[in-house]
């Protein structure tokens, strides 16, 4: 089972802005095993989506490596990229902007099949129909246009497009955060069913902790472009180690009224991700910050599979 499908090694993605270099993803390393789901959580603007897009090469990485099936895919030529993209896909957050309003459901789903040049027109049509049924789109909707459908159905089209070429790795960029709760559950179940059937590997980006707990085996917590903690999700929810993760988890509303939770309130503002100082970026808001926090931090393994990037992790826990 422990078969790493994709691995990021010191991955960096900087954007040059008029005010300086924006460190959207800074020195992030993690592994995702075949057939599992890696949840990526963090507040808005912390670089989750950038990380996802960099992983599947929609954005060129600045530095570092991405090992996909043990091959570095950060530097590939055009031909290899085309092959690579058939194996890595993305599902977007907003089902209203992720579908071309002038293309019918069928056209949207069939497009990747035709572009891959593996199928004849008739075969592609047949395959598209299969996929549309797989994701639960009624036959009567096949020739509909996106504006005629609700969010959940639109998201199903997005999923159909992503799985059309049988990829092995899919980045789900907040696929359910734009949906109603009832429909969220349907879409999540669909994603899990597909994972089981096709042995898919997901990188599931979200800011909804209950969703990530439900769907993922492992979790990465990001803060301003840095990976602060990564761990199997059960362990993370039971015993978070990094001060930021603790604060984040303490913000999850609980349904258990007997269980009084200590809410950790964070003080201060987010520091700017433009030309940040070395050291822990959370230090400015951390209750436990000390001198050493302003030196560069290292991701350390505290228990099997549980990595934390905090110099005081041992004394605090």
């Amino acid at each position: 089972m422990a078969n790493t499908l994709i691995e990021a090694k010191n991955l960096k993605k900087y954007f040059s802005t008029p005010r300086g270099m924006l460190h959207a993803v800074d020195d992030v390393s993690f592994k995702i095993e075949q057939g599992t789901t890696m949840g990526v959580v963090g507040e808005s603007g912390c670089g989750k989506s950038t990380l996802g897009r960099t992983m599947i090469h929609l954005l060129e990485s600045t530095d570092g490596k991405i090992l996909f099936k043990d091959r570095d895919v950060t530097k590939v030529n055009k031909k290899e990229l085309i092959k690579l993209r058939e194996e890595m896909q993305i599902i977007f957050q907003d089902p209203f902007s992720s579908l071309n309003p002038r293309m019918s459901v069928r056209e949207t789903v069939i497009e990747p099949l035709l572009l891959a040049k593996r199928y004849s027109k008739a075969e592609a049509g047949q395959k598209a129909e299969e996929i549309m049924s797989t994701v639960g789109l009624d036959e009567r909707l096949w020739n509909a246009y996106p504006h005629e459908l609700d969010g959940g159905r639109r998201q199903r089209i997005g999923i159909a497009r992503a799985i059309a070429l049988d990829p092995s790795f899919i980045v789900c960029d907040e696929p359910v955060s734009a949906l109603d709760v009832s429909i969220q559950a349907q879409v999540l179940n669909l994603l899990q069913d597909l994972q089981e059937q096709k042995n898919l590997t997901y990188m599931f980006i979200t800011h909804d902790l209950s969703v990530v707990r439900h769907i993922s085996q492992n979790i990465c917590v990001m803060y301003l472009g840095q990976l602060v903690e990564t761990s199997p999700s059960k362990e993370l929810f039971k015993a978070p180690l990094h001060p930021y993760t603790k604060a984040l988890l303490s913000a999850v509303p609980s349904t258990d009224i007997r269980h009084k939770k200590q809410r950790i309130l964070l003080q201060g503002e987010l520091v700017s991700p433009v030309d940040p100082k070395p050291g822990c970026r959370f230090a400015a808001r951390c209750n436990h910050a000390c001198e050493r926090c302003h030196e560069p931090q290292k991701l350390e393994e505290v228990s099997p599979g549980h990595f934390v990037s905090c110099c005081r992790v041992k004394e605090l826990n």
Binding site: I90, F92, S97, R102, L115
Partner: protein, 292 residues
């Protein structure tokens, strides 16, 4: 599956192009516009065969003739039959109006899409070039073209194309920038769409609506500017007729002989109206959001 169901399914499965055409043909306004345009084009083609009089022969005994049975649209300051001049002038006017707008629309939309899609340096370079073109008054540009290439209808069209391009570039670019941030473009990249395909399939169809309106409106302007171009030797030279030129010649006599401007004006108006009706119909037919 029964045969009836099969037929129905095939009908629903038709391509975007066929669907657009079917919806366009069902739109009565658009069809009226198309009919008028076809009639105008037929008149332009048949021109000399159906004109009752010669277009350049003067009849100085009959100057400023009001509309009558012999001359339904009256005669002009040199006694020429206005109806005949309109019929024969339609060829030059329609050619100039339609070809120049088609030319600047095609060039402008392509350049505008590139500028909007690629952004950054490409955008900057293209837009600064367009600023230069727009800084030149169309008349000065026309004189330059005339001096370089000599007079003639074709050079007139060229001058009009050049002066029309920047407007289309700006409009297309603005339209594309609206779409640029949409996730379906990213999705298209992720499924290996080439840049050309992204622009043609995903950007253009969604950016076209405001451009169609500008295209249909542009034809009138083009016909009118062509008349001022003949002033510097570009375009149709007197005594040959052309709608815009007839309109500006009649302007001097508008107080006493309004028929000299009314008829060319009405013909230009009808042309533009027909184009607008067709254009609006086309825009609606291409929009899947409007149910049929």
């Amino acid at each position: 599956m029964s045969a009836a169901k099969n037929v129905k399914k095939q009908k629903k499965n038709e391509s975007m192009m066929k669907l657009t055409m079917r919806r366009l043909f069902r739109n009565k306004t658009a069809m009226l516009g198309l009919t008028i345009l076809v009639v105008l084009l037929l008149i332009a083609i048949l021109g000399p065969l159906i004109a009752p009089y010669s277009d350049i022969e003067q009849d100085l005994m009959n100057c400023y003739g009001l509309p009558s049975l012999q001359h339904p649209f009256g005669t002009d300051e040199l006694g020429r039959d206005i109806l005949s001049r309109l019929i024969i002038g339609s060829r030059a006017s329609l050619e100039i109006g339609l070809v120049s707008i088609a030319g600047s629309a095609v060039i402008g939309i392509i350049i505008g899409c590139l500028a909007g899609y690629f952004g950054g340096t490409v955008d900057n370079v293209i837009m600064r070039f367009m600023d230069i073109f727009q800084a030149l008054p169309p008349m000065v540009l026309a004189i330059a073209v005339c001096a370089a290439l000599g007079p003639g209808v074709n050079n007139c069209i060229l001058a009009l194309i050049i002066s029309g391009v920047p407007g289309f570039v700006r409009m297309a670019r603005a339209s594309v920038l609206n779409i640029r941030g949409m996730e379906y473009l990213e999705a298209a990249t992720a499924i290996n769409c080439s840049t050309a395909r992204i622009i043609a399939k995903h950007i253009l169809p969604n950016a076209l609506s405001p451009l169609i309106v500008q295209i249909t409106m542009g034809v009138a302007n083009s016909i009118l500017s062509a008349s001022s171009m003949s002033f510097v030797g570009l375009g149709v030279q007197p005594p040959n007729p052309e709608w815009g030129a007839m309109l500006s010649a009649g302007r001097n006599f508008i107080r006493n002989y309004p028929h000299m401007v009314i008829f060319p004006g009405v013909v230009i108006m009808i042309t533009v109206l027909a184009l607008n009706m067709l254009g609006d119909g086309l825009r609606d037919a291409m929009d899947p959001k409007l149910k049929d």
